[in-house]
Protein backbone atom coordinates (compact mmCIF):
# COMPACT_ATOMS: atom_id res chain seq x y z
CA UNK A 1 0.00 0.00 0.00
CA UNK A 2 1.38 3.35 -1.03
CA UNK A 3 0.70 6.58 0.85
CA UNK A 4 -0.26 9.81 -0.88
CA UNK A 5 2.73 11.78 -1.98
CA UNK A 6 4.16 14.26 0.51
CA UNK A 7 7.08 16.55 1.11
CA UNK A 8 9.71 15.07 3.45
CA UNK A 9 11.90 17.27 5.63
CA UNK A 10 14.30 16.17 8.33
CA UNK A 11 14.47 18.39 11.43
CA UNK A 12 17.68 18.24 13.40
CA UNK A 13 16.55 20.15 16.47
CA UNK A 14 13.37 20.98 18.36
CA UNK A 15 13.70 24.62 17.21
CA UNK A 16 13.89 23.52 13.60
CA UNK A 17 10.90 21.20 13.98
CA UNK A 18 8.82 23.98 15.56
CA UNK A 19 9.74 26.43 12.80
CA UNK A 20 8.75 23.91 10.16
CA UNK A 21 5.51 23.13 11.98
CA UNK A 22 4.50 26.80 12.05
CA UNK A 23 5.62 27.35 8.46
CA UNK A 24 3.79 24.32 7.06
CA UNK A 25 0.65 24.66 9.19
CA UNK A 26 -2.17 22.12 9.35
CA UNK A 27 -0.85 19.97 6.52
CA UNK A 28 2.26 18.95 8.46
CA UNK A 29 2.76 15.91 10.67
CA UNK A 30 5.72 14.93 12.84
CA UNK A 31 7.32 11.55 12.17
CA UNK A 32 9.00 9.94 15.20
CA UNK A 33 9.07 6.12 15.24
CA UNK A 34 6.44 6.05 12.52
CA UNK A 35 4.52 3.09 13.90
CA UNK A 36 1.23 4.96 14.14
CA UNK A 37 1.66 7.55 11.39
CA UNK A 38 3.04 5.36 8.58
CA UNK A 39 0.34 2.64 8.84
CA UNK A 40 -2.31 5.39 8.86
CA UNK A 41 -0.72 7.02 5.81
CA UNK A 42 -0.59 3.69 3.96
CA UNK A 43 -4.31 3.21 4.58
CA UNK A 44 -4.79 6.85 3.48
CA UNK A 45 -6.49 7.59 6.77
CA UNK A 46 -3.90 10.31 7.12
CA UNK A 47 -2.47 12.21 4.16
CA UNK A 48 -0.13 14.95 5.38
CA UNK A 49 1.27 17.37 2.81
CA UNK A 50 4.51 17.57 4.75
CA UNK A 51 6.18 15.00 6.97
CA UNK A 52 8.72 16.46 9.39
CA UNK A 53 11.08 13.68 10.48
CA UNK A 54 12.11 14.36 14.08
CA UNK A 55 13.52 10.89 14.71
CA UNK A 56 17.12 12.11 14.67
CA UNK A 57 16.79 14.75 17.41
CA UNK A 58 19.16 13.31 20.01
CA UNK A 59 18.07 15.74 22.76
CA UNK A 60 14.71 14.00 22.91
CA UNK A 61 16.06 10.47 23.22
CA UNK A 62 17.35 10.34 26.78
CA UNK A 63 16.09 9.21 30.18
CA UNK A 64 17.21 10.85 33.39
CA UNK A 65 16.19 10.92 37.00
CA UNK A 66 16.09 14.14 38.93
CA UNK A 67 15.34 13.39 42.59
CA UNK A 68 11.79 12.10 42.76
CA UNK A 69 11.06 12.56 39.08
CA UNK A 70 11.86 10.42 36.08
CA UNK A 71 12.11 12.33 32.79
CA UNK A 72 11.66 10.36 29.58
CA UNK A 73 12.39 12.13 26.30
CA UNK A 74 9.64 12.05 23.69
CA UNK A 75 11.74 9.97 21.28
CA UNK A 76 12.64 7.21 23.75
CA UNK A 77 11.56 3.92 22.21
CA UNK A 78 9.39 1.33 23.92
CA UNK A 79 12.39 -1.01 23.77
CA UNK A 80 14.50 1.46 25.76
CA UNK A 81 11.79 1.95 28.40
CA UNK A 82 11.44 -1.85 28.60
CA UNK A 83 15.16 -2.45 29.16
CA UNK A 84 16.39 0.73 30.92
CA UNK A 85 17.89 0.06 34.37
CA UNK A 86 16.90 3.57 35.41
CA UNK A 87 13.24 2.95 34.55
CA UNK A 88 13.29 -0.52 36.12
CA UNK A 89 14.49 0.87 39.43
CA UNK A 90 12.58 4.20 39.45
CA UNK A 91 9.24 3.20 38.03
CA UNK A 92 9.20 -0.56 37.33
CA UNK A 93 5.58 -0.64 36.15
CA UNK A 94 6.60 1.40 33.12
CA UNK A 95 9.14 -1.21 31.99
CA UNK A 96 6.61 -3.97 32.54
CA UNK A 97 4.00 -2.15 30.50
CA UNK A 98 6.41 -1.18 27.71
CA UNK A 99 7.28 -4.88 27.31
CA UNK A 100 3.61 -5.52 26.46
CA UNK A 101 3.35 -2.96 23.65
CA UNK A 102 2.91 -4.45 20.17
CA UNK A 103 5.75 -6.85 19.45
CA UNK A 104 9.57 -6.59 19.71
CA UNK A 105 9.87 -5.10 16.20
CA UNK A 106 7.29 -2.42 16.96
CA UNK A 107 9.02 -1.69 20.27
CA UNK A 108 12.33 -1.19 18.47
CA UNK A 109 10.93 1.89 16.74
CA UNK A 110 7.77 3.14 18.44
CA UNK A 111 8.27 6.11 20.82
CA UNK A 112 6.53 7.28 23.99
CA UNK A 113 5.90 10.78 22.61
CA UNK A 114 4.49 9.38 19.39
CA UNK A 115 2.15 7.03 21.22
CA UNK A 116 0.82 9.79 23.47
CA UNK A 117 0.39 12.33 20.67
CA UNK A 118 -1.41 9.76 18.51
CA UNK A 119 -3.69 8.88 21.48
CA UNK A 120 -5.05 5.61 20.15
CA UNK A 121 -7.97 4.53 22.36
CA UNK A 122 -6.35 1.10 22.84
CA UNK A 123 -2.73 2.20 23.40
CA UNK A 124 -0.95 1.28 26.63
CA UNK A 125 0.99 4.43 27.55
CA UNK A 126 -2.12 6.60 28.03
CA UNK A 127 -3.24 4.32 30.89
CA UNK A 128 0.20 4.44 32.53
CA UNK A 129 0.53 8.18 32.06
CA UNK A 130 -2.89 8.89 33.56
CA UNK A 131 -2.59 6.39 36.40
CA UNK A 132 0.88 7.58 37.44
CA UNK A 133 -0.20 11.24 37.34
CA UNK A 134 2.55 12.00 34.84
CA UNK A 135 3.20 15.36 33.22
CA UNK A 136 3.54 15.91 29.52
CA UNK A 137 5.87 18.68 28.39
CA UNK A 138 4.59 20.35 25.24
CA UNK A 139 6.86 22.76 23.41
CA UNK A 140 5.54 25.34 20.99
CA UNK A 141 6.58 28.62 19.39
CA UNK A 142 6.23 30.48 22.69
CA UNK A 143 8.13 27.95 24.81
CA UNK A 144 7.31 24.89 26.89
CA UNK A 145 4.33 24.18 29.09
CA UNK A 146 3.45 21.27 31.33
CA UNK A 147 0.17 19.46 30.86
CA UNK A 148 -1.10 17.18 33.63
CA UNK A 149 -2.14 13.76 32.34
CA UNK A 150 -5.64 14.45 33.72
CA UNK A 151 -5.94 17.33 31.21
CA UNK A 152 -4.04 15.78 28.29
CA UNK A 153 -6.36 13.05 27.00
CA UNK A 154 -9.35 14.76 25.42
CA UNK A 155 -10.99 12.03 23.34
CA UNK A 156 -10.45 9.44 20.63
CA UNK A 157 -7.17 10.39 18.87
CA UNK A 158 -7.53 13.80 20.52
CA UNK A 159 -5.19 15.45 23.02
CA UNK A 160 -4.68 18.87 24.58
CA UNK A 161 -1.75 19.56 22.23
CA UNK A 162 -2.31 22.78 20.30
CA UNK A 163 -1.42 23.29 16.64
CA UNK A 164 2.29 24.06 16.40
CA UNK A 165 3.15 22.19 19.61
CA UNK A 166 5.09 18.96 20.03
CA UNK A 167 5.66 16.67 23.00
CA UNK A 168 9.25 17.00 24.19
CA UNK A 169 9.23 14.85 27.31
CA UNK A 170 7.10 12.96 29.78
CA UNK A 171 7.77 13.10 33.52
CA UNK A 172 6.78 10.28 35.86
CA UNK A 173 7.03 10.06 39.64
CA UNK A 174 9.76 7.84 41.07
CA UNK A 175 7.87 5.21 43.05
CA UNK A 176 9.17 5.05 46.61
CA UNK A 177 8.40 2.72 49.52
CA UNK A 178 4.70 2.78 50.34
CA UNK A 179 3.66 3.34 46.73
CA UNK A 180 3.13 0.53 44.25
CA UNK A 181 1.76 0.27 40.74
CA UNK A 182 0.80 -2.46 38.28
CA UNK A 183 -0.57 -2.83 34.76
CA UNK A 184 -2.86 -5.65 33.66
CA UNK A 185 -3.64 -6.06 29.99
CA UNK A 186 -5.85 -8.34 27.94
CA UNK A 187 -4.15 -8.14 24.54
CA UNK A 188 -5.77 -8.61 21.18
CA UNK A 189 -4.03 -11.78 19.98
CA UNK A 190 -3.07 -10.37 16.57
CA UNK A 191 -2.52 -6.64 16.98
CA UNK A 192 -1.44 -6.76 20.65
CA UNK A 193 -3.44 -3.61 21.29
CA UNK A 194 -5.30 -3.64 24.60
CA UNK A 195 -8.82 -5.01 24.35
CA UNK A 196 -8.78 -3.61 27.89
CA UNK A 197 -5.76 -2.49 29.93
CA UNK A 198 -5.88 -1.30 33.54
CA UNK A 199 -3.13 0.56 35.36
CA UNK A 200 -3.38 1.02 39.12
CA UNK A 201 -1.27 2.97 41.62
CA UNK A 202 -1.75 2.73 45.39
CA UNK A 203 -0.08 4.66 48.20
CA UNK A 204 -0.38 3.25 51.72
CA UNK A 205 -0.21 5.31 54.92
CA UNK A 206 1.59 4.28 58.12
CA UNK A 207 -1.24 2.03 59.24
CA UNK A 208 -1.53 0.27 55.89
CA UNK A 209 -4.64 2.05 54.61
CA UNK A 210 -4.85 3.53 51.12
CA UNK A 211 -4.02 7.22 51.27
CA UNK A 212 -4.23 7.52 47.50
CA UNK A 213 -5.56 5.29 44.71
CA UNK A 214 -5.46 5.96 40.96
CA UNK A 215 -6.88 3.57 38.37
CA UNK A 216 -6.79 4.29 34.62
CA UNK A 217 -8.37 2.17 31.89
CA UNK A 218 -7.46 2.00 28.21
CA UNK A 219 -8.99 0.03 25.34
CA UNK A 220 -12.47 0.01 26.85
CA UNK A 221 -13.88 3.42 25.96
CA UNK A 222 -13.33 6.00 23.22
CA UNK A 223 -10.44 7.37 25.27
CA UNK A 224 -8.48 6.44 28.38
CA UNK A 225 -10.39 7.24 31.59
CA UNK A 226 -10.02 7.05 35.37
CA UNK A 227 -12.15 4.58 37.33
CA UNK A 228 -13.10 7.17 39.92
CA UNK A 229 -15.69 4.99 41.66
CA UNK A 230 -13.04 2.37 42.41
CA UNK A 231 -10.56 5.01 43.55
CA UNK A 232 -13.11 6.53 45.97
CA UNK A 233 -14.26 3.16 47.27
CA UNK A 234 -10.73 2.21 48.35
CA UNK A 235 -9.32 5.53 49.53
CA UNK A 236 -8.95 5.50 53.32
CA UNK A 237 -9.62 1.76 53.49
CA UNK A 238 -7.40 -1.22 54.23
CA UNK A 239 -6.87 -2.81 50.80
CA UNK A 240 -7.44 -6.44 51.71
CA UNK A 241 -8.64 -8.95 49.16
CA UNK A 242 -12.29 -8.49 50.11
CA UNK A 243 -12.16 -4.68 49.92
CA UNK A 244 -10.50 -4.79 46.48
CA UNK A 245 -12.98 -7.37 45.27
CA UNK A 246 -15.95 -5.31 46.51
CA UNK A 247 -14.61 -2.08 45.02
CA UNK A 248 -14.10 -3.61 41.58
CA UNK A 249 -17.50 -5.29 41.15
CA UNK A 250 -18.92 -2.61 38.93
CA UNK A 251 -16.06 -0.58 37.43
CA UNK A 252 -17.55 0.63 34.15
CA UNK A 253 -21.00 0.94 32.57
CA UNK A 254 -21.22 -0.91 29.21
CA UNK A 255 -23.20 2.07 27.88
CA UNK A 256 -19.96 4.11 28.01
CA UNK A 257 -17.75 1.45 26.38
CA UNK A 258 -16.92 0.37 22.83
CA UNK A 259 -18.28 -2.67 21.01
CA UNK A 260 -16.42 -4.09 18.05
CA UNK A 261 -15.46 -7.33 16.34
CA UNK A 262 -13.05 -8.21 19.19
CA UNK A 263 -15.30 -7.63 22.18
CA UNK A 264 -18.76 -6.39 23.11
CA UNK A 265 -19.20 -3.48 25.53
CA UNK A 266 -20.54 -5.95 28.12
CA UNK A 267 -17.43 -8.12 27.81
CA UNK A 268 -15.20 -5.06 28.05
CA UNK A 269 -17.05 -4.02 31.24
CA UNK A 270 -16.36 -7.49 32.65
CA UNK A 271 -12.67 -7.18 31.75
CA UNK A 272 -12.56 -3.74 33.43
CA UNK A 273 -13.65 -5.36 36.70
CA UNK A 274 -11.37 -8.39 36.53
CA UNK A 275 -8.29 -6.49 35.41
CA UNK A 276 -8.86 -3.67 37.93
CA UNK A 277 -8.99 -6.24 40.72
CA UNK A 278 -5.75 -7.90 39.54
CA UNK A 279 -3.94 -4.62 38.98
CA UNK A 280 -4.95 -3.29 42.41
CA UNK A 281 -3.88 -6.52 44.15
CA UNK A 282 -0.45 -6.35 42.53
CA UNK A 283 -0.14 -2.61 43.17
CA UNK A 284 -0.86 -3.13 46.88
CA UNK A 285 1.71 -5.95 47.03
CA UNK A 286 4.27 -3.68 45.40
CA UNK A 287 3.41 -0.85 47.82
CA UNK A 288 3.99 -3.17 50.78
CA UNK A 289 7.43 -3.87 49.27
Amino acid sequence: MIPNNFEYIRANSVQEALQLLSQKGDGARLLAGGHSLIPAMKLRLNAPETVIDISGIQDLASIHRDGGRLHIGALVTHRTVETSDEVKSSCPVLSEAAALIGDPLVRNRGTIGGSLAHCDPAADYPALTLCLDAEIEATGPSGSRTIAADDFFVGMFETALQPGEMITRVTFPVLTRGTGAAYEKFSHPASRFAVVGVAAMVTLDGSGNCSSVRVAITGAGPSVFRATKVEQALTGKAPDEQAISDATQDVADPADLMSDISASAEYRAHLCSVLSRRALQRAVQAARG
Partner: protein, 154 residues
Amino acid sequence: MGHTIKVTVNGVTHEATVEPRMLLVQFLREVLMLTGTHIGCDTSQCGACTVLVDGVATKSCTMFAVQADGREITTIEGLAANGDLHPLQKAFWEEHGLQCGFCTPGVIISSYDFLKRNPNPTEEEIRHALEGNYCRCTGYQNIVKAVKKAAQSM
Protein backbone atom coordinates in the same frame (compact mmCIF):
# COMPACT_ATOMS: atom_id res chain seq x y z
CA MET B 1 10.29 15.74 -5.25
CA GLY B 2 12.96 13.05 -5.27
CA HIS B 3 15.52 12.70 -2.51
CA THR B 4 18.96 11.33 -3.17
CA ILE B 5 19.85 8.78 -0.54
CA LYS B 6 22.97 6.76 0.19
CA VAL B 7 22.27 3.44 1.86
CA THR B 8 24.62 0.57 2.65
CA VAL B 9 22.88 -2.73 2.10
CA ASN B 10 24.68 -5.96 2.98
CA GLY B 11 27.96 -4.09 2.89
CA VAL B 12 27.46 -2.42 -0.50
CA THR B 13 26.71 1.30 -0.66
CA HIS B 14 23.98 2.33 -3.09
CA GLU B 15 22.98 5.80 -4.17
CA ALA B 16 19.48 6.33 -5.51
CA THR B 17 16.83 8.98 -5.92
CA VAL B 18 13.56 8.07 -4.26
CA GLU B 19 10.14 9.59 -3.79
CA PRO B 20 9.50 10.29 -0.07
CA ARG B 21 6.58 7.88 -0.05
CA MET B 22 8.64 4.90 -1.21
CA LEU B 23 8.77 2.36 1.60
CA LEU B 24 12.09 0.79 2.56
CA VAL B 25 10.79 -2.65 1.58
CA GLN B 26 9.90 -1.40 -1.92
CA PHE B 27 13.33 0.14 -2.27
CA LEU B 28 14.99 -3.16 -1.35
CA ARG B 29 12.78 -5.27 -3.59
CA GLU B 30 12.07 -3.04 -6.57
CA VAL B 31 15.14 -0.82 -6.82
CA LEU B 32 17.88 -3.12 -5.50
CA MET B 33 16.02 -6.29 -6.61
CA LEU B 34 16.73 -7.93 -3.24
CA THR B 35 13.53 -9.95 -3.18
CA GLY B 36 14.46 -12.10 -0.18
CA THR B 37 12.67 -9.55 2.00
CA HIS B 38 8.96 -10.25 1.62
CA ILE B 39 5.82 -8.17 1.85
CA GLY B 40 3.20 -10.07 3.81
CA CYS B 41 0.44 -8.12 5.50
CA ASP B 42 1.75 -4.67 4.57
CA THR B 43 0.12 -3.39 7.80
CA SER B 44 3.05 -3.56 10.26
CA GLN B 45 1.94 -6.81 11.82
CA CYS B 46 3.32 -9.95 10.18
CA GLY B 47 7.06 -9.26 10.18
CA ALA B 48 7.79 -10.89 6.79
CA CYS B 49 9.56 -7.66 5.76
CA THR B 50 11.92 -7.55 8.76
CA VAL B 51 15.45 -6.27 8.07
CA LEU B 52 18.22 -4.92 10.28
CA VAL B 53 18.57 -1.13 10.30
CA ASP B 54 21.86 -0.24 11.97
CA GLY B 55 21.64 -3.68 13.56
CA VAL B 56 18.08 -3.29 14.90
CA ALA B 57 15.30 -5.54 13.57
CA THR B 58 12.77 -3.33 11.82
CA LYS B 59 9.62 -3.86 9.78
CA SER B 60 10.72 -2.38 6.46
CA CYS B 61 7.10 -1.81 5.41
CA THR B 62 6.86 0.73 8.23
CA MET B 63 9.80 2.93 7.35
CA PHE B 64 10.33 5.18 4.36
CA ALA B 65 13.37 4.55 2.17
CA VAL B 66 14.36 8.20 2.60
CA GLN B 67 14.72 7.52 6.34
CA ALA B 68 17.39 4.92 5.56
CA ASP B 69 19.71 7.61 4.20
CA GLY B 70 23.15 7.12 5.76
CA ARG B 71 22.18 3.86 7.46
CA GLU B 72 23.31 0.26 7.22
CA ILE B 73 20.75 -2.32 6.24
CA THR B 74 21.13 -6.09 6.44
CA THR B 75 18.67 -8.32 4.63
CA ILE B 76 18.43 -12.11 4.51
CA GLU B 77 20.76 -12.04 1.48
CA GLY B 78 23.47 -10.54 3.70
CA LEU B 79 23.66 -13.27 6.34
CA ALA B 80 25.58 -16.01 4.52
CA ALA B 81 29.33 -15.40 4.40
CA ASN B 82 31.60 -16.79 1.65
CA GLY B 83 28.94 -19.21 0.52
CA ASP B 84 28.45 -20.66 3.99
CA LEU B 85 24.98 -20.43 5.44
CA HIS B 86 24.66 -18.47 8.68
CA PRO B 87 24.13 -20.78 11.71
CA LEU B 88 20.51 -19.59 11.86
CA GLN B 89 19.91 -20.50 8.21
CA LYS B 90 21.57 -23.86 8.77
CA ALA B 91 19.49 -24.57 11.85
CA PHE B 92 16.27 -23.71 10.02
CA TRP B 93 17.26 -26.17 7.32
CA GLU B 94 18.25 -28.93 9.72
CA GLU B 95 15.24 -28.54 12.03
CA HIS B 96 12.83 -28.03 9.14
CA GLY B 97 11.86 -24.63 10.56
CA LEU B 98 9.76 -23.74 7.55
CA GLN B 99 7.16 -25.07 5.18
CA CYS B 100 6.25 -22.52 2.51
CA GLY B 101 9.13 -20.27 3.54
CA PHE B 102 7.34 -16.97 3.09
CA CYS B 103 7.85 -15.77 6.66
CA THR B 104 11.34 -17.29 7.00
CA PRO B 105 13.54 -14.32 6.03
CA GLY B 106 11.77 -12.10 8.56
CA VAL B 107 11.84 -14.75 11.26
CA ILE B 108 15.57 -15.30 10.76
CA ILE B 109 16.39 -11.59 10.84
CA SER B 110 14.30 -11.12 14.02
CA SER B 111 16.02 -14.12 15.59
CA TYR B 112 19.42 -12.72 14.62
CA ASP B 113 18.71 -9.46 16.47
CA PHE B 114 17.25 -11.40 19.42
CA LEU B 115 20.17 -13.84 19.80
CA LYS B 116 22.60 -10.93 19.78
CA ARG B 117 20.85 -9.55 22.88
CA ASN B 118 20.07 -12.89 24.46
CA PRO B 119 22.54 -15.62 23.40
CA ASN B 120 21.11 -18.32 25.70
CA PRO B 121 17.34 -17.98 25.54
CA THR B 122 14.70 -20.23 27.04
CA GLU B 123 11.95 -21.59 24.82
CA GLU B 124 9.52 -19.09 26.33
CA GLU B 125 11.86 -16.19 25.57
CA ILE B 126 12.19 -17.35 21.97
CA ARG B 127 8.43 -17.48 21.58
CA HIS B 128 8.02 -13.96 22.97
CA ALA B 129 10.86 -12.67 20.81
CA LEU B 130 9.03 -13.87 17.70
CA GLU B 131 5.69 -12.26 18.55
CA GLY B 132 6.19 -9.85 15.67
CA ASN B 133 6.64 -12.60 13.07
CA TYR B 134 3.69 -14.62 11.88
CA CYS B 135 4.05 -18.10 10.41
CA ARG B 136 0.85 -19.59 9.07
CA CYS B 137 2.26 -23.06 8.28
CA THR B 138 4.36 -24.55 11.02
CA GLY B 139 2.70 -23.84 14.35
CA TYR B 140 6.11 -22.45 15.33
CA GLN B 141 7.38 -25.72 16.87
CA ASN B 142 10.25 -26.25 14.48
CA ILE B 143 10.99 -22.53 14.27
CA VAL B 144 11.56 -22.46 18.02
CA LYS B 145 13.71 -25.61 17.79
CA ALA B 146 15.76 -24.04 15.02
CA VAL B 147 16.39 -20.83 16.96
CA LYS B 148 17.42 -22.87 19.99
CA LYS B 149 19.80 -24.94 17.90
CA ALA B 150 21.28 -21.84 16.29
CA ALA B 151 21.83 -20.30 19.73
CA GLN B 152 23.86 -23.34 20.74
CA SER B 153 26.05 -23.20 17.65
CA MET B 154 26.65 -19.43 17.53
